[in-house]
């Protein structure tokens, strides 16, 4: 997706009101701020994991993360935790220290069958939210996708790599339900005159103000529409490219 700078042009909204130039660019920055807020939380989780990993870590060691994880649940975040690289822990080859909001808002640990001999879903290393950080991406935004591993909800997963001594030891991640993200960003998107929507790095629409491009559909570029990255994140705001001033 090509990204061009919005220049000096004026923008006319649906209602004919003249908006300040660069509004779409400002909205992209503001949306980026919301998403970066989640990533900042993940950086804290990452640092905490690095701090508590000793020589021969076991599952129980990761329980020390809970006071950090629990307060972050609610609001945008529906699930948060640390996903160990296979073989990191000495007492379990596969493990997630993963907490989700329970029915009445209390934290509930996700306990999955991580036994290869009884589950077809134990190997989480192929999911983008794991493979992205493992391949070195600083900020990975997976989805929207139907997360059948954790919640069976239409979700986004934000994830960052956890490195100890330069070695990849796992992923700090958070789930954001698409419907909650939509509620959070809609007021911002509406500030853009005309259709506006957010797409992930693959062009999948995340949130939108137009039925033409709903969450889940794929944007492959269209005449007159311009994608602007939200800060340095793998997320872009697509809105009308303004006609050049006469």
């Amino acid at each position: 997706m090509s990204v061009e700078c919005l220049g000096r042009m004026d923008q006319v909204s649906e209602h004919g009101a003249l908006l300040a130039p660069g509004d779409a660019a400002e909205v992209a920055v503001a949306v980026g701020g919301i998403v970066e807020g989640v990533f900042e939380g993940l950086h804290q989780v990452r640092d905490a994991v690095v701090g508590l990993l000793g020589g021969a870590p076991v599952r129980g060691d990761l329980a020390a993360l809970r006071p950090l994880l629990f307060p972050r649940l609610g609001g945008l975040i529906s699930g948060i935790g640390f996903i160990a690289a296979p073989g990191l822990l000495t007492d379990a080859p596969w493990y997630l220290e993963w907490w989700q909001e329970g029915a009445s808002g209390e934290p509930v640990q996700l306990l999955r069958d991580m036994d290869p001999s009884s589950s077809a879903f134990y190997d989480y290393t192929h999911w983008d939210w794991f493979a992205g950080p493992r391949s070195g991406a600083e900020h990975t935004l997976t989805g929207p996708y139907v997360d059948f591993l954790c919640s069976t909800e239409y979700s986004l997963t934000l994830s960052v790599p956890v490195l100890k001594g330069g070695e990849f030891v796992g992923v700090a991640a958070a789930d954001v339900f698409v419907r909650r993200f939509e509620i959070a960003v809609s007021p911002l998107l509406r500030r853009v005159g005309g259709p506006a929507f957010l797409v992930n790095a693959h062009g999948r629409v995340v949130a939108s103000t137009t039925a033409r491009w709903l969450a889940g559909s794929v944007f492959r570029g269209a005449p007159g529409l311009l994608a602007r990255p939200c800060r340095t994140l793998p997320l872009s705001l697509v809105a009308a490219q303004l006609p050049h001033a006469p």
């Binding site: 589950s119 077809a120 879903f121 192929h126 983008d128 929207p144 996708y145 139907v146 059948f148 069976t152 909800e153 239409y154 693959h202 062009g203 999948r204 889940g216 559909s217 794929v218």
Partner: protein
Amino acid sequence: MSTADISGGARLAAFAPVDSTARVDAVVRRLTDAIVLGLVADGEQLPSEAELAAQLGVSTVTLREALMALRQQGMVETRRGRGGGSFVRAPREAPQALDRLCAFTAEELRDLGDHYAAIAGAAARLAAQRALPEDIAPLRRTLQEMAASRDQAQLRRLHGRFHIEVAAASQSARLTQEEIRLQADIGPLLWSARGGDDGTSARHHAIAEAIHRGDDDHARLLAERHVLDAMEHLIELRLREP
């Protein structure tokens, strides 16, 4: 161990002559059903080749080919020498399959099949419209793992995963939730109904490729037919039972 006493009810039906058009595949399918559904017990010795061929109404050449296929799938083990012969090796959980099937009436199975075909068809159609290459990757990986696996229990789980991944590629949480529910209800039964021919594998690949091409109508048709064919086969099996 004595030669199996092939008599009574479903067992009799399982070993009734296959029709004149049937060949190796039909024999493989018939014997696979009998084994997977627990009509013949784990470790049970099959009748001699000549005897079994006669019961099934096929030539011994056809039967031998079928037994070879079953050996490759690990469902039959042949021991040479004195006391040798062909022995059944039931996959894990097999004995429950027939019980599970009989918990449904034929009408209930038909209705389940209609429901599941609607869900699977709609999911495949939307997946074809909406999937990006990275949504196809998991499907292909699952099919590769299935091709490499000889373990029946693992194959059944991977089969369930494949269909859940197709549903997830539709981008619909509700269709995916419904797919998971239906897989839990009748996934193992449908898997056991696939028969031994492994045209199943070709059908899965065809569904994945139709989604990849974005051919939504074809993807839906294939997914519906996949469910309905398996269900028809299950209903046939169910009707042989009292």
